[in-house]
């Protein structure tokens, strides 16, 4: 055996690999190690959302011009794989300095050690809606510019035509009223969908949109006393009732099993009588029907109307080489004018009262004032536990199965089993 050729070959291999790793280093081998040399990296989920990305870019540009010490650099990701990108980056210690987070994931990320608590912003953040602040174990980790409310969008003329009462914030529809209204609309045959709950949306939309219905029935995703088990919350009689009702929307022909790709468009085109959706649709639907458009509170399904609280928020990573700089940016970015500009761009509810006056429709007596009222009155935060991302994927799958005709009790029991196993295998996140 001669070893010589082997040695030569190993050298050759190394030589071949060299330009490659050079390229890797030149091109981003160190691209996202957060914040060296005054550069602060920022990640956002807005690769596919032009308007929101533009408003965030504006804040960054203003900040970079306002001082000479730091420079923030944005990187936008597609929303579909954003969370996974962050998880993988956290695993490889390559988190950026500043990043956005879907509100309910904040406890998980804080527990896993991705996020650093926000320092010295208490006074500023006390003016924000409570539902846009990400807290875990008594510390504040994130703030958001806006919250979203869920509403039933319809037209006054439609309700009048079928003799349906217009509900108010103090007197929302009861479950029976709501079902009767939908059946009336269906009997007329004038609409393809009496109700459209936007099942074509993916990701966090499912727990965000449909777990409030479960809570309105009196169920929940997990017992909130100690966050140890979902038993008796997600598979209680009330939860099973919710599941049966949820499925009946499809079997009674009141809502489509799978919505169109753009439910708001279907509503505007007259295919849908009542659209269950977020406040972001307000602008387009109003444009179509003007004063005839109604934004109704969600129905009271037994335990009062419920709306999911908390949307996308901003935080600082533990990975940041220059946490001072990151905090400096966060303080700068929390100004009311930016709360206003981002809320305007996303058409959502501004997080502060001062910003509300600067956003069209959210001033006192404005058309959108009602959204803030709903959010304040009905908002329920998603469970504040590091197990939430898991609970979300479980609930999504279960809700999809139920809608497709799975046995309600069986599906909910299985979800409880999975969620409990996950909470337990993490030592209850103590």
């Amino acid at each position: 055996m001669k070893l010589n050729p082997t040695k030569r070959l190993a050298v050759g291999l190394l030589a071949a690999a060299l330009p490659l790793s050079l390229a890797a280093c030149a091109k981003g081998g160190s691209s996202s190690a957060g914040g060296a040399g005054g550069e602060l990296t920022m990640w956002t989920h807005n690769a596919g959302n032009k308007d929101e990305l533009a408003s965030i870019t504006q804040i960054v540009n203003d900040y970079n011009k306002s001082q000479t010490k730091y420079k923030v650099k944005i990187q936008a990701f597609p929303q579909d794989s954003y969370n996974q990108s962050v998880v993988a980056a956290a695993a490889s210690k390559k988190l950026p300095c500043i990043l956005d987070i879907d509100g309910p994931n904040v406890p998980n990320w804080a527990w896993a050690g991705y996020l650093a608590p926000l320092e010295g912003m208490d006074a500023t953040l006390s003016k924000f809606l409570p539902s846009v602040i990400g807290k875990y174990n008594g510390k504040t980790y994130s703030f958001g510019y806006y919250d979203v409310a869920l509403v039933n969008v319809t037209r006054k003329s439609t309700l009048d035509k079928y003799g349906i009462r217009v509900p108010t914030i103090d007197q929302p529809w009861t479950k029976d009223e709501f079902t009767a209204a939908l059946k009336k609309i269906k009997a007329s045959g004038a609409f393809q969908n009496p109700l459209d709950i936007a099942t074509s949306f993916t990701g966090e939309w499912w727990p965000y949109a449909y777990s409030p219905m479960l809570q309105s029935f009196g169920g929940d995703l997990i017992n909130r006393t100690d966050y140890k088990s979902a038993d008796g919350a997600l598979n209680s009689d009330k939860a099973v009732e919710w599941a049966k009702w949820f499925r009946s929307l499809v079997t009674d022909g009141l809502a489509p099993l799978k919505s169109g790709a753009d439910p708001a468009k279907d509503f505007v085109n007259g295919k849908t009588a009542i659209l269950y959706n977020g406040t972001w649709t307000a602008t387009d639907t109003r444009k179509a029907f003007g004063k005839d458009t109604l934004f109704l509170p969600p129905a009271d399904l037994g335990n009062g109307p419920k709306i999911g609280g908390g949307s996308w928020q901003w935080g600082v990573s533990t990975n940041c080489a220059d946490p001072k700089g990151a905090m400096d940016y966060m303080k700068f970015a929390a100004q009311d004018k930016y709360v206003a500009s981002v809320s305007s761009a996303t058409k959502n509810i501004p997080a502060t009262d001062a910003a509300a006056t600067q956003v069209p429709g959210y001033g006192p007596g404005g058309d959108n004032q009602v959204f803030r009222d709903y959010a304040k009155k009905y908002a329920v935060l998603r469970p504040i536990t590091p197990g939430y991302p898991f609970i979300a994927t479980e609930f999504t799958k279960t809700a999809q199965d139920i809608l497709n005709g799975a046995d309600p009790k069986g599906a909910l029991d299985q979800a409880v089993k999975d969620i409990d196993a996950n909470q337990k295998s993490n030592g209850y996140f103590k």
């Binding site: 082997t6 190993a10 527990w111 896993a112 199965d401 299985q414 999975d418 196993a421 295998s425």
Partner: protein
């Protein structure tokens, strides 16, 4: 000279296989402030009491049972069609092969569109007076839809392999057969079929392994829904290990899957071995 390959294979193949074995008995997570702990067979007891796992296993097996004969038979048909003296036969072969060089990601996106409720396929069916189902939205048809599309994509590949098998059969045998007055069917039955024995074994095993590894199509088209009707073992492993970060639990699923493939391969090898 075997050193570089050996180092690479050990690092990226044998060690991960060993890790799958080891991690399956721990509660390791991709990231966690808590170190991984040995938990014995907890992952397996949890897995075997999970309905989704049994459904995934059933779908995986069903997919394999259907696609193995269908795809290999159709591919053989194609191979026989292009294994003749005829003008333009190369053109046909090229067209049949096109889906093979198209990536599964692209093919899945394309068929996702074709399969829509009012998509191209149903519109074509409607022309023939048939009301097509909501292919991917109905638990009864979703798996069938994925089977059809997967067979469509891979058929050309196995056509070529059959073809190479066909061409190892000596022409003299056919000549002798036709001199004896054998019909085309008899020629196929007594000359072609026995001559393809080795090729058959290979095709059987490759299609089976590929069928068991079903993932990309499902991930893009249905994410395992509706009602777990298209969930597969690999999809479940990826979901638990990557999205839910439960490395330990996912390793347990991988291990079960690996043992399964091993058993099936051994059985197939046994039944297709040289009959001495």
């Amino acid at each position: 000279m075997i050193l570089p390959a050996a180092v690479l294979l050990i690092t990226f193949l044998l060690i991960p296989i060993g890790l799958t074995l080891g991690l399956a008995f721990t509660d390791a997570r991709l990231i966690s402030p808590r170190p991984a702990q040995f938990i014995g067979v907890d992952n397996f007891t949890r897995l075997f009491s999970d309905d989704t796992f049994w459904k995934s296993l059933r779908n995986t097996v069903l997919f394999a049972i259907v696609i193995v004969p269908v795809q290999s038979a159709c591919a053989l048909g194609l191979a026989l069609l292009v294994n003749v003296k005829m003008r333009g036969v190369n053109f046909f072969r090229t067209i049949y092969f096109l889906p093979v060089v198209t990536s599964m990601v692209v093919v899945s996106m394309l068929w996702l569109f074709l399969y829509q409720k009012n998509g191209l396929i149903n519109q074509v069916l409607a022309k023939g007076g048939i009301t097509g189902p909501d292919w991917l939205g109905d638990p009864h048809t979703a798996l069938i839809a994925i089977i059809l599309m997967s067979a469509w994509q891979a058929m050309g590949f196995h056509m070529v392999i059959w073809l190479s098998g066909l061409q190892t059969i000596s022409g003299d045998l056919y000549e002798a057969a036709s001199l004896d007055g054998a019909s085309q069917w008899q020629q196929f039955r007594y000359v072609t079929w026995p001559g393809l024995r080795q090729t058959r074994t290979f095709i059987l095993i490759t299609i089976t392994i590929a069928a068991f590894s079903l993932f990309t199509q499902v991930n893009i088209m249905t994410q395992g829904g509706p009602l777990d009707s298209t969930s597969t073992v690999v999809l479940m492993a990826v979901r638990t290990g990557f999205q839910q970060q439960q490395t330990g639990y996912a390793s347990a699923i991988s291990l079960v899957f690996f043992v399964l493939v091993l058993i099936v391969t051994i059985i197939q090898r046994y039944y297709t071995r040289e009959k001495a």
